[in-house]
Amino acid sequence: MRRGTTVSLLLDLFTCVFVAAGAFFFLAGSVGLLRFPDAYTRLHALTKADNLGLALIALGLMPQVGGALAALKLVLVWLLVLLSGAAVSQLIARAARRRDSRP
């Protein structure tokens, strides 16, 4: 019983650390989106918030959802966001480049 409480305490600590790290990446992404000078550097900041922030939050929440299947679902959400984020960032960068290269 004592060991069980220790493990659950450790899992809670794991959640706290990873979720806080994910929230920090969202902070960094927002600040970068506001402060960086041009579209490409802003995209750089945004993708960090998208991929790493959401990844760390999903990873941190995995012990809290109760069950391997629910945890797997979190990974699936993250993978979907990762895939669509990669495609969309590429499209946005191409649109920005087309705008910038217009005479």
């Binding site: 706290c16 994910g22 918030a49 998208d50 939050i57 959400v77 649109a95």
Partner: protein, 95 residues
């Protein structure tokens, strides 16, 4: 733990709102699209956090749907911006 997760969700939501300033200020379509992209992924993170905090498993399904919809929104935005800017480019080439 639930309180902590809800506070983090509130913080992420505040960050997304901060990022929305770029929608108002952004000089081009690309910058506005980026803020919309941040809104999508931030909302997914908030939904996951709220789902874990309240123990409501269905919220994760909402997050999954939102992930799909956010991708379609951004792609529609890009198509719109490309169509909007194409006539000017072709006009330049024709001249």
């Amino acid at each position: 733990m639930a309180d902590y997760l809800l506070w983090v969700a509130f913080f992420v939501l505040a960050m997304v709102v901060l990022g929305l300033v770029r929608v108002a200020r952004g000089p081009g379509y690309a910058d506005r699209m980026m803020a919309a992209q941040l809104l999508g992924s931030g909302a997914i993170a908030v939904l996951l956090l709220v789902g874990a905090a309240t123990g409501e498993a269905a919220v994760v399904d909402v997050a999954l749907t939102l992930a799909l919809l956010a991708a379609f929104t951004s792609i529609a935005f890009v198509k719109f911006a490309a169509d909007k800017e194409r006539p000017a480019v072709e006009g330049e080439e024709g001249a």
